[in-house]
Symmetry: C3
Subunit: 217 residues, 3 copies
């Protein structure tokens, strides 16, 4: 049951990776690779920080969603484009799932709660970040018109709280996951935003171009 949920989560993140490969004009092997990075990258980074051999590489079954996702994107690209909203919904599901499982795995390894929450967030957003870094685009995570990380932080924090109160049962897990999921969907639907990194300064200027390289100093 647990592994099925994980594979589903990996699959939907992998679709996002393969779609990126399609948009950037990569070939189908790049699509498999980018799907794998997007679906599995967050968990691998979490396990490296926990100083463990990544669980992903213990069982080859974790690689199958990436191959399936690349085939789906290859066969169904126009529909996938039209199914844009559906994909955002599935991505929200993956976000809700991974922020919970990542936090629990970290807590089971005996790290402190703050680190566990951070590792849960890294599990949820790390794959997409790696996908964008490898594809040489500005990470979607930093898109100021979209609050991707906030639902992940909330889901991870609630999971850590439930774990410490020793009430982490299936019903509680479903409640936490649903909250994260709905918060993400509301953020998309109602265009919720958080403040920019620069306070009042950039507001008076034209916004800096996204993506173009700029020197730091």
């Amino acid at each position: 049951m647990m592994i099925t949920m994980e594979l589903v989560g990996i699959f939907f993140f992998a679709v996002a990776g393969s779609l990126m490969a399609a948009r950037r004009g990569f070939d189908i092997l790049g699509s498999v690779f980018l799907g794998g990075v997007c679906g599995l990258g967050g968990g691998v980074v979490r396990d490296l920080i926990l100083n463990q051999a990544p669980a992903t590489f213990q069982n080859p079954v974790y690689f199958t969603p990436a191959i399936l996702a690349a085939l789906c994107v290859y066969a169904l690209t126009p529909s996938v484009q039209r199914l844009h909203r559906l994909i955002l919904v599935f991505d929200a599901g993956g976000l809700a799932l991974f922020s919970m499982t990542g936090t629990l795995k970290a807590l089971d390894n005996g790290v402190n709660p703050v680190t566990a929450i951070l590792l849960g967030v890294i599990t949820a957003v790390g794959g997409g970040l790696l996908r964008d870094v490898i594809s040489n685009v500005t990470p979607d995570l930093f898109n100021p018109g979209d609050i991707y990380a906030i639902p992940a932080i909330l889901g991870a924090a609630l999971s850590a709280l439930a774990w410490h109160l020793e009430i982490f049962q299936p019903a509680v897990a479903i409640a936490i996951g649903s909250t994260t999921f709905l918060l993400r969907l509301c953020a998309l639907r109602f265009n919720w935003r958080i403040p920019m990194a620069a306070g009042h300064w950039y507001r008076q200027q034209s916004p800096p171009p996204m993506g173009g390289p700029q020197r730091h100093f």
Copy 2:
């Protein structure tokens, strides 16, 4: 003998890294750094995933090829440009070598065959991928006009097969390495390609620009 082969492989990958530094207008220290990343990065990532201290950092001799490569590129840039084909040949040699050694090291650490093949491929292509990511260019690995990863996958798979059949002797190693090497050269010579990530959709449009930043959704 083994270490000499490895140092030669690292050197030729490092030349590719230093050439990138030259093309991008970096300074000579950036050239050493980028050469080191390109020559050693794949093996470091493999060892991190195997949860071992990277072998590269146990013995400083592994860093010398990067310094040599940067000096060669500094002294011989015009010739190196003219020797374009020769470099592709040496790079193919490094690819053949690293896909074999990476797979064997993973198998010796007791991982399953699928993971071992994947780690062999990561060893072979990871350095070049890191070089491109750090240099802020779209990774060459995803170039749809070039099948870089296929020979590495074949070499890694044949190595894993030979290891499991317990016939991995010098003669077999030479046969596998040569096959990988020749497959890569044929791919270059005859312009072999594999399908794109997107099936029929993008074929009817102008291709998406390589490298320019694009939003994911």
Copy 3:
């Protein structure tokens, strides 16, 4: 005392990360994240290579400078812009500090001196490199008009020497740190440079554009 110095170093690197987020138009959570990556990334990479659980994640106090830095940049962006020189001075302080502590931590883990120096340099420059890679800009580290890595190499080498001579006392540490710090400031003040990666070839051409994606071959 030691931890206070470390937190100060992390804070000033984190300000550089948050400023990058402000320049690129990211939101405030991206600012915290990028500040954390810039302030803590070098140490995390060093610890992963040493095959240890990163020290940063053992104690949540290490994350506070990133939050503080993001708040400072949010509140004070115009002043921070005007304080450009001051930031370069603090960054030089962080560089001096981290190249020393990184080398010592590596030596305490029993690695060879060359690797220890390299890990000290990685600790000092790794955070800024990760910041630039994640922000999708050409790393500042490779800026040929600025010798960022040379002072770090000198500081790491002097630290390793002092450690081997068993004279690493507070006075010696202050002397080494000051040397690194002053060397960095002199490099900025007098515009010191080192040779380019390409010898005579590119000198006769217009320089390759910084940042634009270029194919490797």
